[in-house]
Amino acid sequence: MPPPFEEDSAGIFIVGSVVNGILCLCQGGVRVDTAYIQYKLEQKVVLWNPSTDEFKPIPNGSFEHTILKAFPPGSVFEDLPTIPTLINIHGFGYDSVTDDYKLIRYFCFFEDIEKDDPSDESLWQIYSLKSNSWRDLEVEMPNHTWTDQWQNTGKSVYCQGMCHWWGYEDYYGDEVLVSFNLSDEVFIT
């Protein structure tokens, strides 16, 4: 295990596929600042090449502004830091156009995380290794968010410049295959 996981390797999963010999390891993904201490997890994401033992921790980035965009002042949530948020990495892949590795993550928000009932508001962000930062994506794609460790069930893969995952159109909808192109940031189902 690369150093960030040496002390605690519980609940690690591999995101998607191995890309050019690199694994994307992920641990945790729920953010709750108050109330439910047991959910107070930080997400750790690390790119790791086991052959060379090189690793690269991915910054969590800022998402306060992202949450503010979803919930402008005066909206349903008055106290931003207490919004339980599930951060779900949906894909890891390589963009040959820009020679860059990218990650896609999805935020969903719960008024009450004890209830399995996420808010309609949701957000996507994309990470670029070259810029070492996350930025918002203006898309609405079917997501897979009902469980926080769904990647280890093999429901996401990377193939030829695209990340693919099984997503849900809505709560009661069917599963659809979402294919996201890392170069032009367009998806098809």
């Binding site: 052959s51 690269k56 294919s179």
Partner: protein
């Protein structure tokens, strides 16, 4: 879901008796282009599939959490000496590469 021969493939299964079905997606975004390649079974004591390997062998978890491999060519089943925990096991196909991860020096 797995990548087989540069295409997206999925493993479906039905229980009692247990069969695996491996299908491949011909064209991305075209649901009608799923083509069923293999039907494997019946197999016994299967909990769920984990992955399809490069040699079209299928790796699955048994009800006792032992991980087994079924070789499509020889139809031999063998335990691979790995156990899942809490009926949970993840596997990926690994290609070794000595390339640097990059992006770290600017």
């Amino acid at each position: 879901m797995v990548v087989l021969k540069e295409s997206i493939a999925m493993i479906e299964y039905e229980d009692d008796p247990f069969y695996f079905f491996i299908s491949i997606l011909g064209e991305i975004g075209v649901a009608e282009s799923w083509t069923r390649l293999f039907k494997i079974g019946p197999l016994y004591g299967v909990e769920e599939p984990i992955v399809v390997g490069k040699n079209a062998d299928i790796v699955y978890m048994k009800k006792d959490e032992e991980v087994a491999r079924f070789d499509l060519n020889t139809e031999v089943i063998e335990d691979i000496g790995v156990r899942g925990r809490h009926k949970c096991c993840q596997m990926v196909i690994y290609n070794e590469s000595l390339l640097p991860i990059g992006g770290m020096h600017g």
